[in-house]
């Protein structure tokens, strides 16, 4: 059985607070009209939240390399979905 260090409760709570802060930032950005900047900021915040969940809640920070490869494969396939779909959406008109 593969074992890895489990983060302390404090870490989980801090990550949760971080996620809430990022959520509030997303909410706040809705009140500041920045055009395409809003989308950019919100996507950046979404990526940051994903990374917090992946590394801390899913324990990938300390996981066995096979698990990291499996998770990376998931993102790679997501990149295929988005990338090849964009060959249509960004060249349609």
């Amino acid at each position: 059985m593969i074992t890895h260090p489990v983060p302390a409760i404090r870490t989980y709570v801090l990550v949760w607070v971080g996620l809430i802060v990022l959520l509030l930032l997303t909410l706040g950005s809705a009140f500041i009209p920045l055009g395409w900047g809003n989308a950019a900021i919100n996507l950046a915040i979404a990526v940051a939240k994903s990374l917090l969940v992946i590394f801390f809640y899913m324990h990938l920070r300390s996981a066995h390399y096979v698990l990291r490869i499996a998770a990376t494969a998931g993102f790679f396939w997501l990149a295929i979905l988005l990338g090849l779909s964009l060959t249509d959406f960004v060249t349609r008109y």
Binding site: W77, I80, L81, T87, D88, T91
Partner: protein
């Protein structure tokens, strides 16, 4: 190396006879039987829908059912055949039965998860069948928006919910296969000693895990747009109607490879056995399976060439679609090379698989027609497409499934069937299939669209030929049901290795004991050992242990 010895237990069929002993069993072999019974029932439900479709198309004026009923029939046929028969067909039945046996394990890595996946499959099936009984769905199996979200008055959400649920069954099965193949191989069973069937199951499992979540999300988005008016696909709400097709085909094209990769694995096992020759270029066969699984994820846009996607995107997807033909061709050429100078025996499994190779080749080659941008404009959404994918899914997958059932039937049940009847049925299926679907190539090329309730009178002759073929095909499918069921009671007892095949599953008794092996085998040689260093080819019907199996596993200590 020391291995754990277990007391020899009876065969898995004698482990309990009550219904509960089956419904609560976590034995991979019993779960495989549960799946086999379930998918057979769904196959015949989907087959009845197909029969009614063909009956309606005997006359050009659609006299048999109304247009609305016709739409519901082809939707029911597609939904049931794709998600409740074809996708689980080989992986969930033979995959479940054979993966642990072929790699020298006692069970799957997660036996309870395995049983849970069957319950999810049944739950999803009941949901979808309930929707179909309650009034049906008329969107076609593809659930295309905006029809499915804005216009259809049928039970779209319920049917999609059933497909959503059954998707989780696929994911759980995929996870189980991947972990089992990684972690539970017998000592000495290195990656390049794995039978090619295992490679195909591994590639299939990867597709299950990576593609199915996208289908689940897509159907969820469809449901919330239809139910709550959230704009995802509706342009009036800020959505994009083609986004549904992108997401749907990102799953559904790889799903085609879920149907065909296991069939390829079966072909490799059966052709090498009945040609009494080792598989030609084993490693290229293994890598071709993986290449098909990966490239299969990159081609989905070829379903959308005339849907309004950009020309640039279409060119990219066209090129990628041509690329997937390369590993597919490698496999067909290697099967042919395996046959070359082989001592070929035409038992029923081999007949099915020879049929598979020919029909898959026709299906694959006509796929290249459809991947060509200009030709697709003419052929898109015609009967040419119907014929093409039925050559892959029925001519390919179903032929291989039947071949596999015949090949491993003695192992699964411990009984032999009548080879004479089985060969007759294989020929009937082959003739019936071609009579049903070849006229559809011509119909499509002449311009008959798919999913039409009526058609111009000049298409009647070809449609009557196709419907006549469907009735021959139906007989061909009913025959195995009859003689295989007959064999359960009256068939002669099967020996451990009636075909003289190599591979671990043939080294244990028929049917296998509960724990598969008395002790875990130690593997010291490649999977296929059909070619003795010198001398004549062995006869596959020779007896319990064909000479060709000598050396398949170096040490077989403790095999029962």
């Amino acid at each position: 190396m020391s291995t754990l010895m277990l007391p020899v237990r009876g065969n898995y069929l004698d482990e309990g006879f009550s219904l509960w002993s089956w419904l609560s069993s976590v034995d991979h072999k019993r779960i495989a039987i549960l799946y086999t019974i379930s998918i057979t029932m769904f196959f015949f439900v989907g087959g009845v829908a197909a029969s009614l479709i063909r009956l309606n198309l005997v006359t050009p004026t659609g006299d048999f059912v109304s247009a609305e009923t016709y739409n519901k029939l082809f939707t029911m046929h597609g939904v049931i055949m794709v998600w409740f028969f074809l996708i689980p067909s080989i992986p969930s039945t033979l995959g479940n039965f054979l993966v642990p046996l072929m790699i020298g394990a006692r069970d799957m890595a997660f036996p309870r998860l395995n049983l849970a996946s069957w319950y999810l499959y049944i739950g999803g099936g009941l949901f979808t069948v309930g929707a179909l009984i309650a009034g049906g769905v008329d969107t076609g199996w593809t659930f295309y928006t905006p029809y499915s979200t804005m216009f259809s008055n049928t039970h779209v959400i319920a049917a999609a919910a059933g497909v959503f649920i059954v998707g989780f069954s696929s994911i759980l099965t995929g996870i189980n296969f991947i972990v089992t193949i990684h972690k539970m191989r017998a000592p000495g069973m290195t990656w390049f000693r794995l039978p090619l069937f295992i490679w195909s199951m591994y590639a299939t499992a990867i597709i299950f895990v990576l593609a199915t979540p996208v289908l689940a999300m897509t159907l969820f988005l469809l449901a919330i747009e239809r139910f709550a008016g959230v704009g995802v696909f509706d342009p009036a709400l800020g959505g994009d109607p083609l986004l549904f097709q992108h997401l749907f085909w990102f799953y559904s094209h790889p799903a085609v490879y879920v149907m065909i990769l296991p069939a390829m694995g079966v072909a490799s096992e059966i052709i090498t056995c009945f040609a009494r020759k080792n598989v030609f270029a084993y490693r290229s066969m293994a890598f071709a399976v993986l290449a098909i699984a990966v490239i299969g994820f990159l081609v989905w846009g070829h379903h959308m060439f005339v849907a309004g996607t950009s020309v640039y995107s279409s060119i990219v997807f066209s090129i990628l679609s041509f690329l997937v033909a390369i590993p597919s061709a490698i496999k067909v050429f290697n099967w042919t090379a395996t046959l070359y100078k082989g001592s070929i025996h035409f038992e029923a499994p081999m007949l099915y698989l020879l049929g598979f190779v020919g029909l898959f080749t026709v299906g694959g080659m006509t796929g290249l027609f459809l991947a060509s941008l200009a030709l697709d404009v003419h052929l898109h959404d015609t009967y040419f497409v119907i014929a093409h994918f039925h050559y892959i899914m029925v001519g390919g997958s179903v032929m291989a499934f039947l071949g596999a059932i015949h090949f491993w039937w003695p192992k699964i049940t411990g009984r032999m069937y009548s080879d004479r009847w089985a060969r007759f049925a294989a020929i009937v299926v082959f003739i019936g299939f071609n009579l049903t679907f070849f006229p559809q190539f011509v119909l499509g090329y002449l311009g008959m669209p798919r999913r039409y309730h009526e058609y111009p009178p000049e298409f009647q002759v070809l449609n009557v030929l196709s419907s006549a073929g469907a009735s021959v095909l139906a007989v061909g499918y009913l025959l195995p049901l009859l003689y295989l069921l007959w064999s359960l009671k009256y068939g002669p007892r099967a020996t451990a290795n009636p075909w003289g095949a190599t591979g671990l599953e043939w080294q244990t008794s028929s049917p296998p004991p509960v724990d598969n092996f008395a002790s875990i085998p130690i593997v010291t040689a490649p999977p296929y050992q059909y070619e003795p260093p010198e001398g004549p080819h062995p006869n596959p019907s020779a007896g319990q242990k064909g000479e060709g199996s000598e050396g398949a596993v170096g040490a077989r200590d403790g095999l029962s």
